[in-house]
Amino acid sequence: MTDKKLIYLDNNATTAVDPEVFEAMRPYFCEQYGNPGSIHAFGGSMMSKIEKAREQVSALIGADRKDRHGKFTEVIFTSCGTESDNTAIHSALRVCPKKKKVIMSTVEHPAVLSLGKDLEKRGYPVSYVPVDSRGALDMERYEEMVDTETALVSIMWANNETGNIYPVEKCAEIAHRYGALFHTDAVQAIGKIPCNMSESKIDMLSLSGHKLHGPKGVGALYVRRGIRFRPGQIGGHQERGRRAGTENVASIIGLGEAAEMAMRSIEEENSRIKGLRDRLENGICNSIPKAKVLGDIKNRLPNTTLIGFEAIEGESILMMMDRLGICASSGSACTTGSLEPSHVLRAMGVPYTIAHGAIRFSLSTYNTQEEIDFVIKEMPAIIAWLRKLSPFWKE
């Protein structure tokens, strides 16, 4: 097991921390461990490091608005993407107490979708925008749903399973027409596709460190300057009182470094990584019968492909791949412990014959053509073997 080479194609789940990022974080555990809130220089000097990280993250998303002291103020550091999402949605409901309605898509990440279900239980009306068979948003239905009772619309920028990119600018514009706030869960998009908040209508945006070669346990919430906000976590005065709790100094610095590196690699993401993804996708679909790419092929992240293999089940596929050191994910039921295929595939109405055998490959800058060619070479035998076992497979 130990000598087999790892081929990591599950970068939408999490990514490797970049060694440079790790080096940047290293001094802030045992040596420079001060609390940024302290008066003494040992701790207090940490604050400038955090401000630098805020600048780096702001630069990545094009959040260039500063306060009168020249400080970037639109990025709040949090503990993860989920916290950012929860904070944004709860804040919107608190700043407009007269409006109760929330709108989100049916394919949101559980960080948003489960909160939607919870809000329903607490008496808030929540509407879910459906998607078509490619996973594209039904914009007509969306327009019908938004009204002056709507407090917030939350639509993800890119979907974690299909990689589909959603028209968030257009959605934000429609939300604003009715005076609603617009939030986007951009955890999968940031670092993979360009983002410029200075020219955007989006009010709030969530991102996460570990999806862009930063550490786990740190995220950020962008809140446009001028938007009313209520913190999700109450306590000390950290983050200007907008997110209480001693700053996760090392991880915030790591997120800053990762953001800076992502700015440099975003072009590569859209050329080399996209090339590898297409090579993988074509290689698999050309050599394996009844393999189908799921999602909105012309409108998705450059690193992601979701391929459905007919008549077999995802967990078995992943476990056969795992033996060869190939890591990927599945929208199938059995892998997650739930018993149904993913809510995204169900929302898209993907037939069960394919949904149970859907495998997601998500690449990163660390992947090589050699790895991709190895996967292309090995997949046909895995699929053929499992189909030989399947009562539903007919040659």
Binding site: A311, G314, R323, E340, P391
Partner: protein, 284 residues
């Protein structure tokens, strides 16, 4: 990541008896694509009526494939009467162990075997009857009927909704039926308790009087007397008629103002517990 043991992994990676038996004597298929797993089992009998060939085809996760493979190994050489007795526990035993949330894979194995045997005999199997006629669909996501939930609970002594989901998937998706499953379980086990009580009573009353007296005497000697002797009291068994036991309290108990309480919540409670709940104790 599931924590599969080596045996499960071996049966998954090197499954035994894959395929379809040619000119099979019995074929059974259970599960379907929408459920996420399905198993087709076929077997052939030799001239002595023993299973000499068994093969499977499975659509499903690693543990579904491993359970199917284990099933074929298990039943080779069995007569159909023996094979009929194979339970999902026997399949789990071959594999050593399965994660709880995967136990439904072993249930699928048992059902496929029953379906194949029924097919040989020209009957409908339990699973098919459940699917086709019996009961009312409770879990709409996985089309599980109340009959199947009851049978699964009885076969495996299941008392919680989580266990039901692990064994037959019911309630594992939208969750709308969870309360109903709990109601079914509550009703089922209440019924079972009542049944076991009445059968206990019938069994006791069927014994000759002398044995009934000896049994009560034994309980009084071992359970009741030591309790009363602590307070310097005693008890004698005088007579029995139907469900009434006549006793005489002695020693301190005879004159104790709490004798009534001792009799009912002490002596009678013990006898109710040990014999059957309708026992009544009278002091003479």
């Amino acid at each position: 990541m599931w924590d599969y043991n080596d045996k499960v992994m071996d049966h998954f990676l090197n499954p035994r008896n894959v395929g379809e038996v040619k000119d099979a004597d019995g074929v059974g298929q259970v599960g379907n694509m929408s459920c996420g797993d399905a198993l087709k089992l076929s077997f052939k009998l030799d001239k002595d009526g023993k299973i000499c060939e068994a093969k499977f085809q499975t659509f499903g996760c690693a543990s579904a494939i491993a359970s199917s493979s284990a099933l074929t190994e298990l039943i080779l050489g069995m007569t159909l009467d023996e094979a009929e007795e194979v339970s999902n526990k026997d399949i789990v035993d071959v594999l050593g162990d399965l994660p709880e949330a995967k136990l439904h894979c072993s249930v699928m194995g048992m059902e496929a075997l029953q379906a194949a045997i029924a097919n040989y005999r020209g009957e409908e199997s339990d699973a098919e009857q459940e699917d086709n006629h019996e009961g009312r669909i409770v879990c709409k996501c996985f089309s599980v009927t109340d009959t199947k939930i009851r049978n699964t609970a009885l076969d495996n002594d299941l008392h919680t909704v989580e266990e039901i989901t692990d064994y037959c998937k019911a309630g594992g998706a939208c969750g709308a039926c969870l309360e109903e499953i709990q109601d079914i379980l509550d009703g089922l086990w209440k019924e079972k308790k009542a049944e076991s009580t009445s059968s206990k009573q019938a069994e006791f009353m069927a014994m000759p009087l002398i044995q009934r007296v000896l049994k009560v005497q034994e309980i009084i000697d071992s359970e009741v007397k030591p309790m009363l002797e602590q307070d310097g009291g005693g008890i004698d068994l005088i007579d029995m008629k139907d469900n009434v036991v006549y006793v005489k309290l002695t020693g301190h108990c005879a004159s104790c103002p709490s004798a009534g309480i001792t009799l009912k919540s002490g002596v009678e409670a013990v006898l109710k517990d040990c014999i059957f709940p309708e026992i009544v104790v009278e002091n003479v």
